[in-house]
Amino acid sequence: MDAALLAELRAILPRPGALLIHEEELRPYECDGLTAYRRLPGAVALPETIAQVQAILKLCHRHGIPVVARGAGTGLSGGALPLDEGVLLSLARFNRILALDPLARTARVQPGVRNLAISEAARPHGLYYAPDPSSQIACSIGGNVAENSGGVHCLKYGLTVHNVIALEVVTIEGERLSIGSAALDSAGYDLLALLHGSEGMLGVIVEVTVRLLPVPERAQVVMAAFDEVPAAGRAVGDIIAAGIVPAGLEMMDGFAIAAAEAFVHAGYPPDAAAILLCEVDGTNEEVSEHLLQVHDLLTRAGATQIRTARDAAERQLLWQGRKAAFPAVGRLSPDYYCMDGTIPRRRLPEVLAGIASLSAEYGLRVANVFHAGDGNLHPLILYDANTPGELARTEEFGARILQLCVEVGGTITGEHGVGVEKLDSMCVQFDRAELSQFHAVKHAFDTEGLLNPGKAVPTLHRCAELGAMHVHGGALPFPELDRF
């Protein structure tokens, strides 16, 4: 990176360790959670104040230097992948909870605060922050906003966008925007919604105000085993049709169950084709009433085994298996590739059948772990990066799964974002005019295209080169053809 520019950055960030330029210091920033893509940034800036963030962005804007913002780096789609001639703006030092108001049920926090730390700070007041990505012990709230991250609680308590009421954002021009407020809505356009899931393309988040909810009086989990996947899928529908919205409703297939059981010994039946974990929460009375109903519905749906956690420890253990499913599968294979498509729940059996045929076609094993309540699938494709060509085959397999999700009326990403990983799949979900509209919106915030360029929204050129077929709402050309 240009010496004069580094000198200017140094002037903004005089403290030792606030500006990293040597290769060994840059190495830890070469990728986020998607390690298949790596690149060294030109420099890493670690500001501590909003004024410094503004100064850095102004400087980069003046010189036309691209900027990639980064939180905890736990993203799984390469959204924080650096650019060699760019500045990586780390918000790791923005890690303080600035205010917590128990009566108003809000917390004002810096973007580098870990998701779980907010609930820990709120707990003494009987409150918590509902969105709980599986990585919540490590991921930071700024990144949660940038990716609109979900988690187990989404069906009942919503995504990040439903639980954030205000943001402080710095534009690439260094302008500070206050978006949202302590009120439940704001005058003008809903920029709060627009910023959520914008993957660092529209502005840099420097402060977040979240809503806190009362900790439910009681939460209880039921595990049910099934000897066929469609029966488990039907049970999910039955529970919701009965008017129960579970706080969590998760499904694992046989492969994932066996892997998780061997890893954490949660007591899952190792020979089941599928298990469901259904958590109900609320007041004591409500939970008791719902548990009886759920038990009855699961029995009628053909569950071969039903277990209700007797105490908090058993509840933790039952969840532990699900939460550890990714590393558990990781023990069975040198590498795995996690997909993140969402589908309408009723299409689950055919999508799983489609994934199984693709698995046979590509000769790669797949474990399925998913948020059954909201239709968010996480097929894990097992592969070996040391086998020549296997990564490319895995990626192609993954793209076919996402195409399948779009074909049944779903989407290519439910919570992990597009990043660099799913740029090609964006061409499947959106047409030319829609992608142009995204670019126009980006331009409204960032005229020169300096914030996280090359991520989230593909260029029209890229889609044209790919020759992608555009599919909307399952309206396929030649629908009679078998595509599995």
């Binding site: 108001d101 356009y189 809903d190 919604a193 609320g282 004591n284 729940r345 239709g375 126009a440």
Partner: protein, 367 residues
């Protein structure tokens, strides 16, 4: 007129032609929200005929309908399956449509406990100001592909796009409901409503009409009964009518001629000292003010309470919506240009300055 029809292509053609000739369009549904926002001069783009429920899968908790579909029709269909629009939208008229509800982002008493209209939007199909039909979001709960332009439509008053189809998350209707009334003054009601909201109670509404606080409990019958024992207060006999009247502005509070303001503020903010009457809804976060105070005074009071004020009625000629901070105004202007470069969609309905060269932050037109 046939009941259900898809006018999407024809609406898109009309917008494309208007864009060519730079003809302003006044988007009109059933007209029930016409009193909100500023008057628009332009050719009428009639959207009420674009109507009908396209898909409804009770088990998926998703409903997709054309924007001109009457809200009443949607609510009746949901009720058949013991489901509901949890944001409890005000209709403000018998023919209210889904599109108008979303364009104005209107939500009723359940809003603080369940979410706003925008929170239940999963996807939309719209016509942008170029006359292109675009689809964003989808029919699934989780979707982070592309910018969330669907929720951006909520509360944009038709200035960014013409809503064609809307997919919404719907929820089961709670099996039991009960409303309790307790006499207390507004200051105490404010404090208590916030304290209750911080406890694990099955709350689904809390308002204060000047004399009494009303709490609505919704959920499993046993949970509602247990909460009643804990909270005390007198059960209200005709509770459905009470909440309906509150939502539709038929409550006695609204039957006066004084200028009417909606203040959306921090639920815990102290009461503003303005001459007139107050009604506190949304557990204190939405406050209705009927009184003679000057618009500047009301705006100041709302800002001090960390919120904004919308003028519903009275003070002819005054701005209806709260002024935007300068840096935000710049973004608004550019966003409007990004979706509607010719400035033909409901120009002036939200912020007349958005349409004027040099207005709102001083950017030139078309930037």
């Amino acid at each position: 007129m046939p009941r259900d029809q898809d006018l999407g292509d024809s609406l898109a053609t009309q917008v494309a032609e208007a864009a060519q000739t730079r003809t302003a369009l006044r988007i009109e549904g059933a007209g029930s929200k016409g009193f909100l926002g500023h008057a628009v001069t332009g050719e009428t783009l009639a959207v009420a005929g674009h109507r009908g429920v396209i898909a409804y899968e009770p088990v998926e908790l998703v409903l997709t309908a054309r924007a001109g579909t009457p809200l009443a029709e949607i609510e009746a269909l949901l009720a058949e399956h013991r489901q509901m629009l949890a944001f409890e939208p005000p209709h403000y008229g018998a023919d209210a449509t889904l599109g108008g509800t979303l364009a104005c982002n209107l939500s009723g008493p359940r809003r603080p406990y369940a979410g706003a209209a925008r929170d239940f939007v999963l996807g939309t199909r719209i016509v942008n100001g170029r006359g292109e039909i675009l689809r964003f979001g989808g029919e699934v709960m989780k979707n982070v592909a592309g910018y969330d332009l669907s929720r951006l439509m909520a509360g944009s008053y038709g200035t960014l796009g013409v809503l064609l189809d809307i997919s919404l998350k719907v929820l089961p209707r709670p099996p039991a409901e009960l409303t309790l009334a307790q006499e207390m003054d507004a200051g105490e009601a404010l404090r208590r409503m916030n304290e209750w909201a911080a406890r694990p109670l099955p709350l689904s509404g809390a308002f204060h009409d000047g004399a009494c606080v009303y709490l609505r409990l919704s959920g499993a019958a046993s949970a509602v009964a247990a909460a009643q024992r804990r909270l005390g207060g007198e059960p209200v006999a005709d509770a459905d009518a009470l909440w309906h009247d509150l939502r539709e502005h038929r409550h006695g509070f609204f039957r006066h001629d004084a200028p009417l303001w909606r203040l959306s503020v921090a639920a815990t903010a102290a009461l503003a000292e303005l001459p007139g009457r107050w009604l506190l809804d949304w557990g204190g976060a939405q406050r209705w003010y009927a009184g003679p105070a000057a618009p500047e005074a009301v705006r100041r009071a709302a800002a001090q309470a960390h919120g904004h004020a919308t003028l519903y009625r009275g003070h002819e000629g005054a701005a209806r919506f709260h002024p935007l901070a300068a840096p935000l105004a710049v973004v608004h202007r550019r966003l409007k240009a990004a979706l509607d470069p010719a400035g033909i969609l409901n120009p002036g309905r939200l912020y007349p300055e958005l349409e004027e060269p040099g207005g709102l932050g001083g950017l030139s037109r078309g930037e």
